[in-house]
């Protein structure tokens, strides 16, 4: 977990934004995922969120959902993703977080899942359909394994829910930019800035904004108020549209470089 908090601390100290990139593990293949992460690190990503695909995700928009479906069709499993993390760790030290749904965690055994994730070199976990009220034992399991807990806060979250999520998020608070599932958007809503302020009142932990962040100027805008930005669907689409794995790595790195330009405050 220290990799994750260190990386946010570094960005704060350097007075710049923190860029997290989400990719779906196993799309187009787990071998490609192991190539993509070091390339994204090289291109300026401060952390990578690896999506472990689930057959029936509720919070994913069409782009990430389709990527998950492709990965599953190619035989992606939790064990396979853990192998992939070990391969990545042999090559780079970038902070890594898992993003998944609860059922794959449950069937692999939450304690075993957390332990193996930690041993493989994962730093934090976000289980999208496990809100704070259902997450009591899970938060303890993460803490015992020195994994950062990441919870979502949405524009519709009541003050009590914001407070609870902020208190339980030991990794960072994942702030959902606007109502809706994951997916790219053209602009960012004004209410977002109020929401980040509401979270800030409750915690000193880093706050990163995701959902709809697709361009360098989004990253820059978001990082004016939050610690960082998370880009998901836009990157997953770049990878999906590449003709082969090698091109996917190349294009993903180029896009990450573009996005990373948004980390610097507007001059």
């Amino acid at each position: 977990m220290s990799r994750l908090s260190d990386s946010f601390a570094r960005a704060r100290a350097e007075g710049r934004g923190h860029l997290t990139i989400f990719i779906t593990a196993g799309d187009p293949s787990l071998e490609a995922t192991a190539e993509l992460v070091p390339a994204l690190a090289e291109a300026g990503a401060d952390a990578v969120e690896l999506g472990i695909p689930f057959s029936d995700p509720l919070a994913d928009g069409p782009v990430i959902q389709a990527a998950g479906q492709r990965a599953l069709e190619r035989g992606c499993t939790v064990a396979g993703v853990l192998d992939c993390v070990r391969a990545i760790r042999a090559r780079c030290d970038l902070p890594l977080a898992f993003m998944t749904c609860y059922n794959p965690v449950l069937q692999n055994g939450p304690e075993r899942f957390a332990r193996e994730a930690r041993v493989a070199g994962v730093d934090g976990v976000l289980v999208t359909d496990l809100p704070p009220a259902e997450a009591g034992p899970w938060v303890e399991t993460l803490a015992q394994n020195d994994l950062g807990a990441i919870f979502l806060v949405a524009p519709s979250s009541t003050p009590e829910r914001v407070e609870l999520a902020a208190r339980l998020s030991t990794g960072f608070v994942y702030c959902v930019s606007r109502p809706g599932v994951t997916g790219t958007r053209d602009d960012l809503p004004a209410e977002l800035f109020d929401l980040v302020a509401r979270i800030r009142e409750k915690t000193d932990r880093p706050v990163a904004v995701g959902f709809g962040i697709a361009r360098a100027e989004h990253v820059r805008e978001v990082c004016r108020v939050a610690d960082g930005a998370i880009v998901g669907s836009a990157m997953v689409r770049v990878i999906a549209e590449a003709p082969d794995a090698a091109a996917a790595v190349e294009r993903a790195a180029a896009f990450a470089r573009e996005l990373a330009a948004g980390k610097a405050p507007a001059g």
Binding site: S55, D56, N103, L106, V181
Partner: protein, 395 residues
């Protein structure tokens, strides 16, 4: 039957949903709690049950099936006679009244066989609400007539092309829509599955089935049934029937799942008979899944039973032994479809035919002492085309 934790039945149920939905579920729960004991709301519900749904529905004695079952007295609870052709309208009326109280102008729903979609489109028309129904593309083909009915009623039908393109994927899409439009949209969930408070709300609005059946049985026979039988997909018609008898410990509660091609392979939809503990669509229950927690594709000749999960309260009733669950295969259900049509002049929905099949396959266990109520949750008109295809040459 008291939940040990809010929204739980034993270890089943809960609210496993993304944060974006949690406040909407809280809002729904608060609105429902306010209506639950509200006299005006209950009167309004009664009014629509009587004037619009056509309640009470009948309890019909089946002479030939009874004779076939060793003289056990076998009755059908006639939910097929509800307006729109199934029990689904009971729940839709209740939830549409709730949506109206909450000031939500837009209804969304998922549908498998199309019965819940039609019922939702119907109440949307009745109350002047906008309506979008999500339906797996495979199901839109199997149930083309219901797609037309929904459109006729003014609803938009969105074919879902993700995943297995059946009911579970329609639910995923409907939930995504709800996440995106949570302010003005009411998600009219059709079964006793899904996150809290849906299992409780839907069971409440369907409990009229069991209440009526109990009173009718006492009036006709002067005693309670020995067994009540219903098909189980998500489980709403079964829960509606069971609720009427759950405190009558001597009444056996029997749920019949879609057995498809049998339990030897994966071509079935028998979550309670063959599933394991897991989380799907916001609740913990029995689900059909692989070792890595991915949801398995299901198969049933009936689109309405083609679902890899089941309502959490059924999971609880199974574990506590209060209800027992078995299955009927596609062939057994089709046989029942034929028998009920020929013997009694009643064409059942393929879903409900699974419950009828139970009587045919368990006739050896029945005696003249038995009094059985089978829930005929829907009528078979919607299945005529599919049945003609599957039964080629047999009719």
């Amino acid at each position: 039957m008291a939940a040990v934790k809010r929204g739980y039945f034993g270890r089943y149920g809960g609210q496993y949903v993304p944060e974006m939905l949690a406040p909407a579920l809280d809002e729904l729960e608060a609105a429902y709690e306010a209506c639950r004991e509200d006299r005006e709301f209950r009167d309004e519900l009664e009014f629509y049950f009587r004037e619009y749904v056509g309640r009470p529905t009948g309890l019909t004695y089946l002479p030939r099936l009874s004779e076939h079952c060793n003289g056990a007295r076998v009755y059908l609870k006639r939910e097929d006679l509800c307006h729109t052709g199934s029990h689904k309208l009971n729940n839709c009326i209740g939830q549409a009244l709730l949506a109206r109280r909450m000031g939500k102008p837009r209804l969304i729903a998922e549908t498998g066989a199309g019965q819940h979609g039609v019922a939702t489109a119907t109440v949307a028309a009745l109350f002047g609400l906008e309506c979008v129904v999500y339906m797996g593309e495979v199901d839109t083909v199997r149930q083309a007539l219901n797609v037309f009915r929904m459109k006729l009623l003014g609803a938009t039908v969105e074919p879902v092309t993700s995943g297995t393109q059946t009911l579970k994927d329609a639910i995923n899409e409907a939930i995504r829509d709800w996440i995106a439009n949570v302010g003005d949209t009411y998600y009219l969930f059709g079964s006793v599955a899904g996150p809290h408070p849906y299992p409780t709300i839907v069971a409440d609005f369907q409990s009229v089935v069991g209440r009526e059946a109990r009173a009718q049985c006492l009036e006709r026979e002067g005693r309670l049934p020995t067994k009540v039988v219903a098909c189980v997909g998500g489980g709403s018609n079964a829960m509606g029937l069971f609720k009427g008898f759950i405190d009558d410990r001597e009444v056996e509660l029997i749920g019949v799942e879609g057995g498809g091609l049998g339990l030897a392979g994966d071509d079935h939809a028998a979550s309670l008979c063959a599933g394991t503990y897991g989380v799907l669509h916001g609740a913990a229950s029995y689900i059909l899944q692989d070792a890595d927690g991915q949801i398995k594709g299901t198969h049933s000749v009936s689109a309405g039973l083609d679902y890899p999960g089941v309502g959490p309260e059924h999971a609880y009733l199974k574990d506590t032994g209060r209800a027992s669950y078995t299955l009927a295969t596609d062939d057994e259900a089709l046989e029942a479809f034929l028998r009920l049509s020929e013997w009694e002049g009643i064409i059942p929905a393929l879903e409900s035919a699974h419950a009828v099949a139970w009587a045919l396959t368990h006739r050896d266990e029945l005696t003249s002492e038995d009094l059985v109520i089978i829930n005929l949750s829907g009528r078979g008109d919607k299945d005529a085309e599919e049945a003609r295809r599957v039964l080629a040459g047999r009719v």
